[in-house]
Symmetry: C2
Subunit: 301 residues, 2 copies
């Protein structure tokens, strides 16, 4: 296993999404799909997940075309399906239906060759599964985790246990406020840091992202998008791009984390430009570097 390979646990799903700009049915979705694709622009990725017998082979073929190792994706029953929509302000996904299907009984089966993974991204999935992966890996250099409001409500205890064991916690502003019971993101971040992580990253959608470490603070600008077509997966792309860049650099000091956050933001901003992973399918490294330079310019004073 290459030292900069990133092991990603998360969902691989079929999404039906409606926004004011259109809709898709049974499109490729899931936190691991978005995160691994974003990661693949910087470092090779492997996925631990499950899909159903109904999962379209062309979706797996797409992931493989990005150099992603999909051999850790089990196949059983029916694929996890999420149906949701966004209203005009695009701020929050409204769920119409969640069919867990094969994800409901998913038990982590870790191929032995995955146990030496050095970079681990616990993408948004049940914290119990995040913990199982964490337990199965020998001595990772870096563990980054993401989560979502659903787990904060339903599995807070387990979630806090995972947080205690990771190096970098990524969550959005609403989730940070919910998890730590404060409106102050600064206070929420301090509480999160006191649990163990050396860095806490708070995603704020169009407002950018914040990085908190023990003694420093970084505020990444949001990229000014003309139009957000579908924000689904932007948070996952942020996390995947971030960890992919850190793995490529082979370090995660505060300075490198800052750059990784900007690369994550760039990936997320591109992802919002089209439905499902469609924009990432045609994205080039040159596009990423171009927008990274723009991000430098829009924050210069």
């Amino acid at each position: 296993m290459a030292t900069n390979e990133v092991l990603i646990v998360g969902t691989v799903a079929l999404d039906s999404v409606k926004t004011p700009f259109g809709h898709v049915q049974n499109a490729l979705g899931g936190s691991a799909s978005y995160a691994s694709t974003a990661c693949s622009f910087f470092s090779p990725a492997r996925i631990i997940s499950i899909v159903g017998e109904d999962f379209p082979p062309e979706h797996l073929a797409f992931l493989q075309s990005r150099g992603i190792d999909t051999s850790g994706i089990k196949k059983e029953g029916k694929t996890f399906h999420w149906e949701g929509f966004y209203e005009f302000d695009m701020n929050e996904a409204k769920t119409i239906r969640t069919e867990l299907n094969s994800l409901a009984t998913f038990a982590i089966g870790m191929p032995p060759s995955y146990r030496d993974a050095k970079y681990l991204f616990l993408a948004n999935i049940d914290p119990k599964l995040q913990m199982d992966v964490l337990d199965a890996v020998n001595a990772p250099h870096l563990v980054v985790m993401d989560t979502m409001n659903f787990w904060i409500s339903s599995r807070k205890r387990e979630l806090l246990e995972v947080i205690r064991r990771v190096d970098v916690l990524v969550l959005n502003d609403g989730e940070a406020r919910q998890l730590f019971g404060t409106v102050s993101l600064l206070k929420a971040a301090r509480q999160a840091l006191s649990l163990g992580p050396e860095a806490v990253i708070i995603k704020k959608g169009e407002h950018g992202a914040l990085l908190f470490t023990d003694d420093r603070h970084f505020s990444a600008p949001g990229y000014p998008l003309e139009e957000v077509k579908d924000p689904t997966g932007c948070g996952d792309c942020f996390g995947g791009g971030l960890v992919g860049y850190l793995a490529k650099e082979g370090k995660h000091d505060e300075k490198t984390l800052r750059k990784a956050i900007v690369y994550g933001s760039v990936l997320a901003s591109y992802n919002a430009e089209d439905f499902s992973l469609n924009r990432l399918r045609t994205l080039k490294s040159g596009d990423i570097e171009g927008r990274y330079r723009e991000m430098k310019d829009i924050r210069e004073f």
Copy 2:
């Protein structure tokens, strides 16, 4: 009149404010009070406004102690009084009572010596009064204006007329969306620019501020405050600090506007730390420069 003197039209008020952190009664408030005080850290200010016979002389004495020329403040009837509160999230002022009092019949009386003002800040006040001041000034170098949701609802036509005649429009994100009927701040800014201003600045509270000009974009970070005690007047301090810095520099090219926005943000962040103008009473230039340097650091990548 010194070339870098700033003429500010706005309200001088007595505010009764309650937040989760305390309350004040009949404290010094009003857009011109906040803006001129913030301005005074960079450039001398003069105020055009009105107060009542009941206005405490110590408030005028405070403004004068900041070098502010208060001879353009009429005295008549009873002082404009605003009573409001903020809930836990501190995002939005809720009004309990607005007593316009002498402000209701205020007619701009411009001292002849004010007509050559080169820097003009139309702080938040009835757009009709903003227009009257604009009409009374001979050939200003720079006109910056602020407004609020109340005028967007009640005086939209007059407000748009003022916007057509200013160089820099300052408003907050909710107001930009309301005024231009779009959730996209980028689209709102484009519409604003098409009306005439060469720059549009959108204040986003804790998320910082955005600058839009025809071909460039700047995103200023928010200063991470431990605790917001009272956000009243932060927008006015932002505008006053901004225009004060521009007047001091004697130019308002895009690069200077970026710095001015950060100085405005610094003044606003200090103002939020205490009720009324209390924090600004003890603020030193060194404090401002210190936080300006911090703002640079939290944006570096």
